[in-house]
């Protein structure tokens, strides 16, 4: 393992050992506090363009398997760990993480004081960084020079580049419901396999699986699919998925999003939540260092119940921008009070900032899918006026 560095635009340098692809990585440096679920995190399209720091120091303990990927590839730009396990142990472990990194062309910097790094990010906010081998940079102190960073530009967070990179290019329907629909034979509805359109801004596979498992037929469509095309698919409901970057990158599409969400029962998740909020008049802003982990408490306002959620977002809906005639806040973060869920006052539209599909993280909010499906099956053939 050769020596390498993580350089931050804010000037800090962390030394470590390089594993995986032999190439430079540039990205927004963020941290995730989950103690398990590294495979899901590494393959989550929402991390596209980011260098993820794992706060838990031992990563890779149970290896890599063919089931837990949230997409078909490693999506993050680079990763920083305390220690990457070279001798994993798990009956499902089938592949080597290092091979996966090489295959994906992703670099990992290990043996880093990740706690110190997490604290830097916490104090300074999400910051641009680069992973370099010692051969690539003789003097890591260069990180302090603006010229150094000029050559290491990233597509802006509010550029469509990120979503475009991870969203599907073609419409695809998943109908092998029986494979997933275990134990749902008790459903008495005539329409026992509701059709859901999943607008893909970089969705996690678990989102698709949750829907299939609940007995839905799912059609995944590219992010730019216009309302008319969706209408042709005759969905019972639409889900706006998670995805990378700033929701404002999708500003040109907000009108269409508004139209879709006014036409079909809609559920927005993570980036999808932010988009629905924007489409219906609210604003979003960047959090200092985001919420990334599997232990974020949110409170359901109506019941007072607190649930632990899986989260991964750097942007948030601004509380003051929410028009109380349009939206009702349904969930709130217990720690910082930020908006975690919205419900439209007239439309069958709701959205949540966290990830009910879990993977990684607790499945305490999985009922949100259930509720959504119940709702769309009941709504049935109801017609929607186009507003």
């Amino acid at each position: 393992m050769s020596k390498g560095y993580l350089l931050l635009e804010s000037g800090e340098v962390f030394e470590g050992r390089l594993i995986g692809a032999d190439r430079e990585a540039v990205g927004e440096v963020v941290f995730n506090t989950s103690m398990t679920g590294y495979q899901e995190i590494m393959t989550d399209p929402s991390y596209a363009g980011q260098i993820v720091t794992f706060a838990y120091p031992l990563i890779g303990n149970y290896g890599w398997n063919g089931f837990d990927g949230e997409s078909d590839a490693i999506q993050l730009a680079g990763m920083i760990v305390g220690e990457l396990c070279t001798r994993p142990s798990h009956y499902l472990a089938s592949e080597d993480i290092r091979d996966q990194l090489l295959k994906a062309g992703v670099v990992c910097l290990s043996e880093v004081d990740t706690r110190a790094l997490v604290k830097v990010i916490r104090r300074k906010g999400t910051v641009k960084g680069t992973i370099l081998s010692a051969e690539q940079i003789a003097d890591p102190a260069q990180a302090n020079r603006a010229s150094f960073w000029e050559t290491r530009q990233l597509p802006a967070q509010d550029s469509i580049y990120w979503v475009n990179r991870v969203s599907t290019k073609k419409i695809q329907t998943y109908a092998n419901v029986d494979e997933y629909a275990d134990g749902l034979s008790h459903r008495s509805h005539s329409q026992s396999h509701p059709h859901v359109v999943l607008i893909d801004y970089g969705h996690k596979k678990s989102m698709l699986h949750s829907l299939l498992k609940a007995g839905c037929r799912v059609t995944v469509v590219p992010y730019a699919t216009p309302c008319a095309d969706i209408r042709r698919l005759q969905p019972d409901g639409v889900i706006f998925s998670n995805g990378p970057g700033d929701p404002l990158a999708l500003e040109p599409y907000l009108e269409e999003i508004k139209k879709i969400s006014a036409s079909f029962p809609s559920l927005g998740i993570c980036l999808g939540h932010q988009l629905l909020a924007l489409a219906h008049g609210a604003r979003t802003e960047k959090l200092k260092y985001g919420h990334r982990g599997g232990n974020h408490p949110v409170k359901e306002i109506q019941t007072g119940k607190v649930m632990l959620t899986s989260q991964n977002h750097g942007y948030v809906v601004v509380q003051d921008s929410i028009d109380s005639d349009t939206f009702q806040v349904t969930y709130r973060n217990v720690n910082d009070g930020t908006v975690e869920g919205l419900k439209h006052k007239r439309l069958p539209l709701q959205s949540i900032q966290f990830h009910p599909e879990a993977h990684p993280g607790p499945g305490d909010t999985a009922h949100i899918f259930q509720q959504f499906i119940e709702e769309i099956t009941h709504t049935g053939d109801m017609d929607y006026a186009i507003t």
Partner: protein, 1077 residues
């Protein structure tokens, strides 16, 4: 209690039940939990009433609760407290199984309903469902949660029938017992019969659960919490390195789990939360799982609907105070209303995440109990545990190893090295306390991870990590003074000493090389959320990494060394003193810094000190912290022998030792120096000598005359100490018990069979203050920790007291004590001798503090910091005696330790203590004996079988029992003597004929046994078997005539005997006494 928000206002007064004495399976963790709970309730403005019989705890300090009852934890006594105090609520889920069982009983007797007492927290129904195997299984079936095939049996026959269905091996778990008492894994019919019959005896409901064995599965524990609003969360999950089959209390445990995938983790988390929802837990709960290493099949093993040893570990491992929050939930708070004390800004309704690895290793008492069966199984045997924190597994494990204080600072052991390959394999297969070292040695000898996995079922993940330690040894060895390799070794937890050995240089050379290269540890914070938020916890552990978070303040500070894991001879009493010392240091205006590694105790709660370093009490770790903190000095007096042992090295390094000077500590510890001092002070000790050979020993014994007391030098809790009555026994001892040579001398003293006294004193250099004198019920020869101690002394006059006071004063001044001093005296033929001097806090400090109301440890700490006793309001001299009589009664855990002889002797065997306090000795003794767990039947049968030397003396006691109406049963020789004394006695066969004594004991025909030791200590001997049989059947055995005499006195006061009117005026004195009582 239907309410939506905040605490209940309906409640005003809350009764908290503690867990009683420390026994194996229920230890200091409940002092930690109980203290937190009482404080949490008090800060809410509730009036808190506490019942607990354990005087060695912080929780029974009178400022922790509003009123403290140190009464026996029996339904009768707790009922009395309830009737007297009339509390509104009862909190029983923080006092272990003891408190929970009492709550269940109180509910049954109807007292709670009668007195309108609400059970707070988890309700009785939930407790029953979790605790009763049948109800539990039923619930699991309803929830669709898998449990291993099992059956509840009430007899051996039912057990055999079950095994016919499922086959061997099967696990036997007695219902409602502590630490799995009486259980085990049976591989065959004989084992099954043994386990089931003992299990049925221990189970208060006479039930055993038989379970198909899932040995070899991963064992995973979840600590979960739920509030009344239904919010559920996981505080921590923990993975046992030892697979299912070894009690979790005896397993090496890591947190968080290391080999669970995200899917595995969430699957078990979901199951745990589903279960606590179904049980409607309000507070903390522990859920144990077995997980197949080759599939996602899992089973529920057990649910504990209360805080537990594991929750204490989880609290320390995460920084999340489970007990405190459980108490708040019990009075109605919701988790999201409670702030996370670590940030003060975020809330308790989140799941902690770690950015380090925690390792717990149990501390077993096998160094004391040489004859004990060391094999680990479903019955817990450890008395305590250590925890260590590291940024990687290897460092965490190695730190834990050196925290154990078992003489090794690395994954190696001299004894294990001696084993041949076959023995080594055997040791790995048959798990015992040394398996970790055997595994490391096997790897060193080239066995593969696969082979060792076959033997042990320890997950290859852990074996590979251990292998990395072994591989790193070779790398370091091959690269002397190479900084890179050294840095890696330090990161992985190697000590300087180990590196020195690998480089064949001295430790000093390694240390100075390390300093020269500026290779120092940094200190990281334990903050519950992996640095995501700003934390204010002053809770640290070391790591060889970049950023240091423990910023040394400019305030004057003092470091207190704690006492490490709870073990026999060094128990919770030392933690008590440590905590008081920390408080005193803070009061005196210094910053108090503590170093300790025991996750169970109050001292390692992060809010006790200004700074807590959760680190090994190992010289290198301690020196690094001192170097980092630059304190005014270090206090070693409160951490027992653990801290005292570090004195010499600290002194050598030029670290100021506050309090008694190191040379004086040495003078008290070193035999010859001590003898010189006694001679100078003109004080007498039993005559004796230090010998370095067998010949010398015989010669010395001849000169002194038998009986003699023999022991190796520098002992802890009387280890390997024996009373020897003749030459043969002496030879036997010298050959078997000790390795005598000039490096390991043996001490021989004349054994003076007299009355023993114990004194704790505080000296500021000028004045000597003596809070009290304790008199022992058992004569000298029984270890002071195992004796019943009485305050104030009952049998001596002012004259003897004055002599003791005067001798104490002279010794304190002679040793230039600054701080605490503990002395044991023996009164023999009207002469007072000094038996032992400890220049430190002692086992009796908390007991004496409580009964006299004098904050002894606090005074000592302040004196150490330079205050005078005069200024503190305690001028020298003997504190006026209190009116009440208090007794300290030892509590043993013999039922948990098979093959251990229960005979009291110079080696300490007790694990805990209780207090009995009342207006006179008899009443105090009654409470004390009862609280210690003895059943005190007013009638029944006494079995007497004593050594010839005791036959004459025992007659008075036998007569006493007879007069109270007890039937007498005796073995042949003893029976003859009793007959000769004119008392009716039934003779019973010794063990060579049937039916014999053992049958009588098993049939429950015997209520007390008086048995004194005959020659030899082989387990095969009759006396041993009688005593073990008694322990296993819960029959009270007196191995000291003095204890029997004490029990007799108690019985005399609680029993009325029928006495005919005298035909003439000649009545014996005894009868008068009896009839008057």
């Amino acid at each position: 209690m239907n309410k939506l928000k905040g605490k209940s206002h309906r409640l005003q007064k809350i009764l908290v039940i503690g867990s009683g004495p420390i026994v194996i399976g229920q230890a200091a963790e409940f002092d930690y939990a109980g203290t937190q709970a009482c404080q949490a309730l008090k800060e809410e403005g509730y009036e808190v009433v506490l019942v607990n019989s354990n005087p060695a705890t912080i929780m029974t300090d009178t400022h922790i609760a509003d009123r403290v009852y140190m009464e026996p934890l029996t339904v009768d006594f707790v009922t009395k407290v309830i009737r007297q105090e009339k509390p509104d609520g009862l909190l029983a889920t923080l006092g272990g199984q003891t408190a929970l069982n009492i709550a269940v009983e109180l509910e049954k007797t109807g007292v709670l309903a009668e007195e309108n007492v609400v059970l707070l927290g988890t309700d009785i129904e939930a407790i029953r469902k979790a605790e009763d195997r049948k109800l539990f299984r039923q619930l699991m079936h309803e929830l669709g949660e898998p449990v291993p095939q099992s059956d509840i049996v009430h007899s051996v026959e039912e057990a055999l029938a079950f095994v016919d269905q499922v086959g061997y091996p099967v696990i036997i778990r007695p219902a409602y017992t502590l630490g799995g008492t009486g259980g085990g894994i049976a591989e065959n019919e004989q084992m099954l019969i043994d386990f089931v019959s003992s299990g049925l005896r221990y189970s208060p409901v006479k039930q055993c659960l038989l379970e198909e064995s899932i040995a070899g599965f991963k064992e995973i524990e979840f600590e979960v919490m739920r509030d009344a609003a239904g919010t559920c969360l996981t505080v921590c999950d923990m993975e046992n390195i030892d697979a299912v089959g070894i009690h979790t209390g005896d397993s090496i445990v890591v947190a968080p789990s290391q080999t669970l995938s995200e899917r595995d983790y969430q699957m078990l988390r979901n199951a745990a939360l589903k279960i606590i929802r179904a049980l409607r837990i309000e507070g903390g709960c522990n859920v144990q799982f077995a997980l197949d290493p080759d599939s996602d099949q899992y089973y529920l093993i057990e649910v504990n609907p209360r805080v537990s040893r594991s929750s204490a570990l989880a609290s320390k491992a995460t920084g999340f105070p489970i007990a405190r929050l459980a108490a708040k939930i019990a009075v109605g708070y919701r988790l999201d209303e409670l702030s996370n004390p670590v940030t003060g800004r975020t809330y308790a309704s989140f799941e902690p995440v770690l950015d380090y690895v925690v390792t717990k290793i149990p501390r077993w008492p096998f160094d004391k109990f040489q004859s004990a069966n060391r094999t680990l199984g479903t019955q817990m045997k450890a008395t305590g545990e250590v925890m260590a924190i590291g940024r990687n597994f290897e460092a965490s494990l190695l730190k834990a190893v050196r925290s154990l204080e078992t003489g090794t600072d690395h994954l190696e052991s001299a004894e294990i090295k001696q084993l041949n390959n076959e023995q080594l394999r055997e040791k790995c297969v048959r798990a015992d306390d040394e398996r970790l070292f055997a595994v490391a040695e096997a790897l060193r000898r080239g066995y593969t991870v696969e082979e060792i996995w076959e033997w042990t079922k320890i997950d290859p993940f852990f074996l590979n990590k251990i292998k990395r330690v072994i591989d790193l040894e070779d790398v370091v060895r091959a690269n002397p003074f190479k900084l890179d390799h050294m840095a890696e070794a330090k990161q992985k937890g190697f000590t300087d000493r180990k590196i020195a050995e690998l480089w064949s240089v001295t430790e000093e050379e390694v240390r100075s090389f390390r300093k020269q290269k500026a290779l120092y540890p940094v200190y990281k914070t334990v903050d519950t959320f992996a640095a995501e938020f700003e934390a204010y916890t002053p809770y640290y552990y070391s790591a060889y990494e970049e950023e240091n978070e423990s910023i040394s303040s400019t305030k004057k500070k003092v470091i207190v060394l704690g006492s490490g894991p709870i073990r026999i001879g060094q128990g919770i009493e030392f933690d008590y003193a440590t905590v008081h010392a920390v408080w005193a240091i803070k009061e005196a205006g210094y910053e108090a810094v503590i170093i300790n590694n025991n996750p169970e105790t109050v001292s390692t709660d992060f809010n006790i000190s200004d700074k807590l370093y959760f680190e090994p009490l190992y010289v290198e770790d301690v020196l690094d912290i001192i170097e980092h903190e630059q304190p005014e000095g270090v206090i070693v007096q409160f951490g027992g022998q653990t801290a005292i042992q570090l004195t010499t090295v600290l002194e050598k390094e030029g670290i100021p030792i506050l309090g008694t000077h190191q040379s004086h500590i040495d003078a008290a510890e070193d035999r010859e120096k001590f003898e010189r001092l006694l001679a100078e002070l003109n004080l007498s000790a039993p005559p004796g000598r230090t010998v370095t050979s067998v010949e010398e020993a015989l010669e010395t014994a001849d000169g002194l005359g038998f009986p003699i007391l023999v022991r190796p030098s520098y002992v802890l809790g009387g280890r390997a100490m024996e009373i020897v009555y003749n030459k043969e026994e002496l030879l036997d001892y010298m050959h078997k018990a000790v390795k005598v040579n000039p490096d390991y001398p043996v001490l021989i003293d004349r054994y003076l069979m007299g009355k023993e006294f114990e004194v704790d004193a505080v000296c500021d250099g000028d004045d000597v203050f003596i809070p009290g004198i304790l008199e022992h019920i058992e004569r000298a020869g029984v270890h002071s920790g195992d004796s019943i101690a009485v305050y104030p002394p009952q049998t001596i006059g002012e004259d003897v007291k004055n002599r003791i006071i005067e001798m104490t004063t002279r010794l304190a001044k002679g040793l230039e004590i600054k701080g605490l001093l503990n002395i044991q005296f023996v009164l023999y033929r009207d002469e007072v001798y000094v038996l032992e001097v400890n220049p430190r806090s002692s086992r009796t400090v908390p007991f004496l503090s409580k009964i006299t109301g004098i904050p002894i440890a606090n005074l000592a700490a302040k004196v150490i910091l330079g205050h005078t006793l005069q200024a503190l309001g305690y001028p020298g001299g003997y504190h006026p005696e209190e009116k009440f009589v208090s007794v300290k009664v030892p509590v043993f855990s013999f039922a948990k330790l098979h093959r251990v002889d229960i005979t009291l002797g110079p080696e300490m065997k007790s694990t805990g203590e209780v207090i009995g306090r009342d207006v006179n000795l008899e009443k105090a003794l009654y409470k004390g004996l009862l609280a210690s767990g003895m059943s005190i039947p007013a009638q029944g049968t006494v079995l007497v079988t004593v050594a010839d030397k005791d036959k004459e003396e025992v007659m008075d006691i036998v007569r006493g029992f007879h007069q109270l109406g007890f039937k007498l049963l005796a073995t042949e020789g003893t029976a003859k003597c009793i007959q000769k004394a004119g008392l009716p006695v039934m003779s019973v066969n010794k063990l060579n004929k049937a039916p014999n004594i053992l049958d009588s004991i098993r049939r429950g025909e015997v209520h007390f046994i008086i048995n004194t030791l005959t020659k030899g200590k082989q387990p095969a001997r009759d006396g041993f078997r009688i005593r073990r049989e008694a322990v296993e059947n819960g029959v009270v055995v007196f191995t000291s005539l003095d204890t029997a005499q004490a029990m007799l006195r108690v019985l005399e006061t609680i029993t009325f005997s029928a006495i005919p009117m005298p035909p003439s005026a000649s009545r014996s004195k005894k009868e008068v006494l009896t009839s008057e009582s």
